[in-house]
């Protein structure tokens, strides 16, 4: 076992796992029960998709729009799987497990071990995947229980903490003016459409902007 890889995997797992608290609280504020919140973390296990589900349902969206939004965000995981498949070369039940823990972090740590060799890359993937899974689920439960104990979300500022959590996740992705213009356009579009379309649709309809901007951009 490579020590540098193990240390990095643990660091990433714990830091990311802490965000599970925010998801647990957001999910309760959106109307999910503690059990449902924990199942979302155990079974979907994809931060962005889970926050999206909480966001759409919190706004009163339909099941279809929540699942569709989560799936659109989940396509990223499919692309990571594509990258990891030739590295891991897994079959059977191992392939099922590898698929479930294919997330931003496990892929990211695996790729960053390239200099240390294939073995370290594999280690990084498995250690980070299992590490994030463990911490993410523990902190989801804690966040959910904490939010449930609070009662009225508005009295504790949870109604602002949830969009602030999204904003904090989004912020590091806005590295140039192209992305900032896109982000503001999407925000305005969703707000303007809110009184017109049924809940959930104003959010998912902004994918049109991603397609238009991505199509026109220089590749």
């Amino acid at each position: 076992m490579n020590r540098a890889t193990a240390t990095q995997s643990f660091g990433v797992s714990f830091t990311v796992g802490l965000y599970g608290t925010a998801f647990g609280a957001a999910s309760i504020a959106a109307g999910f029960s503690v059990l449902q919140t924990c199942l979302l973390s155990l079974l979907t296990f994809s931060g962005a998709s889970q926050f999206a589900v909480a966001g759409v349902m919190g706004a009163g969206g339909t099941a279809i729009s929540a699942i569709a939004t989560a799936s659109l965000l989940g396509t990223r995981n499919m692309l990571y799987a594509l990258r990891m498949a030739p590295l891991l070369r897994v079959t059977g039940i191992k392939k099922v497990i590898a698929a479930h823990i294919t997330i931003d972090e496990s892929t990211g740590v695996a790729i960053s071990q390239e200099k240390l060799g294939t073995q370290a890359m594999k280690q990084g993937f498995w250690l980070t995947g299992f590490g994030v899974y463990t911490f993410w689920n523990i902190f989801t439960l804690l966040g959910a229980l904490g939010a449930q104990a609070m009662g009225n979300p508005s009295a504790w500022g949870l109604d602002a903490a949830v969009p602030a959590a999204f904003l904090g996740l989004l912020w590091p992705n806005l590295t140039n003016n192209f992305e900032r213009v896109l982000a503001v356009s999407a925000l305005v579009m969703a707000v303007v459409l809110s009184p017109v379309l049924s809940a959930g649709l104003p959010i998912i309809s902004t994918v049109v902007l991603a397609v238009v901007f991505g199509w026109k951009a220089r590749i």
Binding site: M84, L169, E179
Partner: protein, 101 residues
């Protein structure tokens, strides 16, 4: 079955199928540069849209209340490069304070 249960089960199945298909589908079908480019922009639009909807709407109506003040404080915290935790807590405190006034 309640809507919430449908969402829990539906999104779990969807996410698993997406990931598993990545281990099954030949690479050539998914590596079109344009598809990759659009895919990196999708989280940006969806998250931005959610920030907007959750800050200034309620049940399909525009509502300006304590949440907007909370998000304004969060933006300031982000501009000052505050850690993620500080961003969330400062937004929550601002909003809670105004709500209770």
């Amino acid at each position: 079955m309640s809507t919430f249960w449908i969402v829990v089960i539906g999104s779990s199945i969807a996410l698993f199928l997406l990931r598993y298909s990545g281990y099954m589908i030949p690479e050539k079908y998914l590596t079109n540069p344009r598809v990759l480019r659009i895919n990196t922009l999708i989280p940006i639009v969806l998250m931005s849209a959610m920030v907007g909807v959750q800050t200034v709407t309620e049940n399909g109506k525009w509502v300006i209340d304590q949440r907007l003040a909370g998000i304004a404080v969060a933006v300031v915290a982000l501009l000052l490069k505050a850690p993620y935790f500080v961003v969330m807590v400062s937004a929550a405190l601002t909003s809670a304070l105004l709500y209770r006034l």
